[in-house]
C-alpha cells in the first residue's frame, strides 16, 4: 500500500507542486504555514480537488482517474463534518452502508469501532451533543470504518482546546500506529507533527522545502519558517572551516564545513551584556533591541543588528540589565552552542 503521488494544482495566483512517497504503516505530516497548499494537497489526494497535472498511485493502481467516492480513502476533516442528522453510530456506519454492507452488519462494525475509540456509550448521541474530543474520535472511527488503504487527516486536532488536545493527540497516535495503510496528515502545529508523524514534509508556497524525520527537521531546519517552528535562530552563510560568514558577521562553529552552510542556535544560548564583556566569547556582536515579549516562563528579546536573532533570558535578567526597546546591547553565543550543516 505504498503511496506515490505528484500533485500539481494550478490556480490563478498559486501553484501547488509536491511529490509524496508514503510507505505502508507510515505516517507523513504535511507541515506548513496557512495558505501553503497543504490542505489543497490533501483534497487532491481525496479527489475533492482536481489535479491540474501529476498522478496518484497507490500500490501500483492509479487513483487520480477515480472520483472521490471510488477511492479507497478515509478522511478526517478539520471540523469533523459529522452528519448532524445521524447518530454517532449511524455516522460511522454510513461508509460501510455506501459500500453495500447490510444495515445490521454495518451497525455492528460501527459499534465495534466506536468501542475501539472509547465511545461505546455515546453511540446514540447526535453530533451536537458530543464534545469536541468525542466528535474527533467519531470522525476518526467513521474514516476507519470504510477500511481505507489511505488515511487522510486535515488538521485533526486544530479544533480542540489545549487540554483535550493533549489527550486526543496521544490516543490518535495509538490509533495511527494500529493502522497498517498509508497516512497523510496536515497540520500547522509542529508539536502535533512531531508526535504523530514518522516523517515531516514541510510545504511553503506550494512547494516542498524540507523533509525528514521529526528529529532531523527539528535539528537542521532549512527555512526561516521551520526554524521558527522548532524554535531556533537560523542563518545561511558561507563556511570556511570552523567559521561561517553570515552577512558582515563571522560566526565560529564547532563543525568543519566548506561552501554554503546553515548555522543554527537556540535563543536560550544567546547571552546579553550592557557593556562589552571581558574575556572573549568567540561570537560577539553589538545589537539593538527591537522588541521584548513574554515567552513561556522566560522573556524573548528580539535583536536587530548584523544578524536578527531571538534571545531567551529570564525575567530577572531583564530587570538586572534594565532592557528597553531601541537600546544597544552586546550579544554573544558560544561556538559549542551553534550547529552548522551544509546548505
Amino acid at each position: 500500500m505504498t503511496l506515490h503521488a505528484r500533485l500539481v494544482v494550478t490556480r490563478p495566483a498559486f501553484t501547488l507542486d509536491v511529490t509524496l512517497e508514503v510507505a505502508p504503516g507510515e505516517v507523513v505530516a504535511l507541515l506548513g504555514p496557512n495558505g501553503a497548499g497543504k490542505t489543497t494537497a490533501l483534497r487532491a489526494l481525496a479527489g475533492l480537488t482536481a489535479l491540474s497535472q501529476g498522478e496518484i498511485v497507490l500500490d501500483g493502481r492509479p487513483l487520480h482517474t477515480l472520483p472521490a467516492e471510488s477511492r479507497p480513502i478515509g478522511m478526517v476533516f478539520q471540523d469533523y463534518l459529522l452528519f448532524p442528522h445521524l447518530t454517532a453510530l449511524d455516522n460511522v456506519a454510513f461508509g460501510p452502508r455506501c459500500q453495500g454492507v447490510a444495515k445490521a452488519e454495518a451497525r455492528r462494525a460501527a459499534a465495534t469501532l466506536l468501542e475501539r475509540v472509547g465511545l461505546a456509550d455515546r453511540a446514540t448521541a447526535k453530533p451536537r451533543h458530543l464534545s469536541g474530543g468525542q466528535a474527533q474520535r467519531v470522525a476518526l472511527a467513521r474514516a476507519l470504518a470504510v477500511r481505507p488503504e489511505l488515511l487522510l487527516l486535515d488538521e485533526p486536532l486544530a479544533a480542540l482546546d489545549a487540554h483535550t488536545r493533549l489527550e486526543i493527540r496521544s490516543q490518535l497516535r495509538r490509533h495511527l500506529a494500529d493502522f497498517d495503510g498509508a497516512t497523510v496528515l496536515v497540520t500547522h502545529d509542529p508539536l502535533d507533527a512531531m508526535v504523530l508523524a514518522d516523517r515531516l514534509i514541510v510545504i511553503e508556497n506550494g512547494a516542498v522545502v524540507q523533509q525528514g524525520t521529526p528529529a532531523e527537521v527539528a535539528r537542521r531546519p532549512r527555512t526561516d519558517y521551520v526554524a521558527r517552528l522548532v524554535g531556533l535562530n537560523l542563518y545561511r552563510g558561507v563556511a570556511d572551516g570552523a567559521r561561517v560568514k553570515v552577512g558582515e558577521l563571522l560566526l565560529h562553529t564547532s563543525e568543519q564545513l566548506d561552501d554554503a552552510a546553515f548555522v543554527a542556535f537556540p535563543p536560550a544560548a544567546v547571552a546579553l551584556y550592557r557593556t562589552r564583556p571581558d574575556g572573549s566569547p568567540r561570537n560577539l556582536w553589538q545589537a539593538r533591541i527591537d522588541g521584548i515579549e513574554r515567552h513561556g516562563d522566560n522573556v524573548r528579546v528580539h535583536l536587530d543588528g548584523p544578524i536578527t536573532a531571538f534571545a531567551d533570558i529570564t525575567p530577572a535578567a531583564v530587570a538586572d540589565l534594565d532592557l528597553t526597546p531601541g537600546q544597544r546591547i552586546w550579544a554573544s553565543v558560544k561556538a559549542t552552542e551553534t550547529h552548522a550543516y551544509p546548505a
Binding site: N34, L48, I73, F77, L81, H85, C98, A162, G296
Partner: protein, 287 residues
Amino acid sequence: MSSSVPEQVDLPGPPRGSGGRPAASREVSGRPPWMLVLPAVVGLAFLVLPLAGLLIRAPWSTLPQRLAEPQVLEALRLSLVCATVATAVCLLLGVPLAWLLARVSFPGRRLVRALVTVPLVLPPVVGGVALLLVLGRRGLVGQWLEATFGVTLPFTTMGVIVAEAFVAMPFLVISVEGALRGADQRFEEAAATLGASRWTVFRRVTLPLIMPGVAAGAVLCWARALGEFGATITFAGNFPGTTRTMPLAVYLALETDPEAAIVLSLVLLAVSVIILASLRDRWANTP
C-alpha cells in the same frame, strides 16, 4: 479557513473588568416620529380591517348548517385534494430543479433561474391562457397527449392540478434552492470520501440537511395552490365537483348568495391562519 487557537502564552493582561457589564442597550430616546407612525397605523388597519369585517359579517348562527352544505364540502374537498396533489407534483419536479440550479453549473443557468421565477410575477390569468395554448386540446403538447394517451387536461380536475402546480412551483423552487445554497457543501464532500455516490449523497445527506427549507417551501407552495383562482378558471373552467375549487366557489357565491361567500371565505381564512401558525412553529423549532 484555519481556526487555530495560538498556544496560550499567558500574558499579564489588564485586569478583567470587575462586574463591568456592558450597559444594557439603551432605548432610543424620544417619541417615534408621526411621519412614520401614522402611515404605519393606516397600513396595519388596511391589512387587518377587511379580515375583521369578514369575521363581523359572518353568519355565525347558521354557520354549521352552511358548512355542511354539499356544495361547500365538495369545493373544500376538491381544493384540498388538488392543492395537495399539486404540491406533491411540485416537490417531485421542483426539488430536483432546485438542486440543479444550486449544485450544477451549466451554461445559461442564470437564464433558467429567471425563467423559473416567471410564473411568480406573471398574472395567473396569463398563465392559464399560456397553459391552454400548450396543453389545450389543440395545443402543442395537448394535441399529442390526446392522440397518444387519450388524456385531455383542460376543464378537468387534472387541469386544476396542472394550473395550481404551474403557479405554485416557483415558491418551492426558490425556497429549496435557498436552503441548498445555505447548506454546507462540505458535508457532501465528506459523504463522497466515505464512498457515497452523488445520488446517495443527495438522498442521505443533502435532503435531510435541507428538510426545513423543503418543508417551508412545500407549505408556501400548498397555500399558493389552495388560493389559486386565475389560472384555474382560465385553464380548468368552473365545473362543480370537478374543477370548482374554494376560491372559484367564493367568487361565484358572491353574486348569488353573499352569505355563502362569507362562509367559504372564512374557511379559507382559517386554513391560512393554520398554515401560518404551523410555519411559525417550524421556524421556531429549527435552529
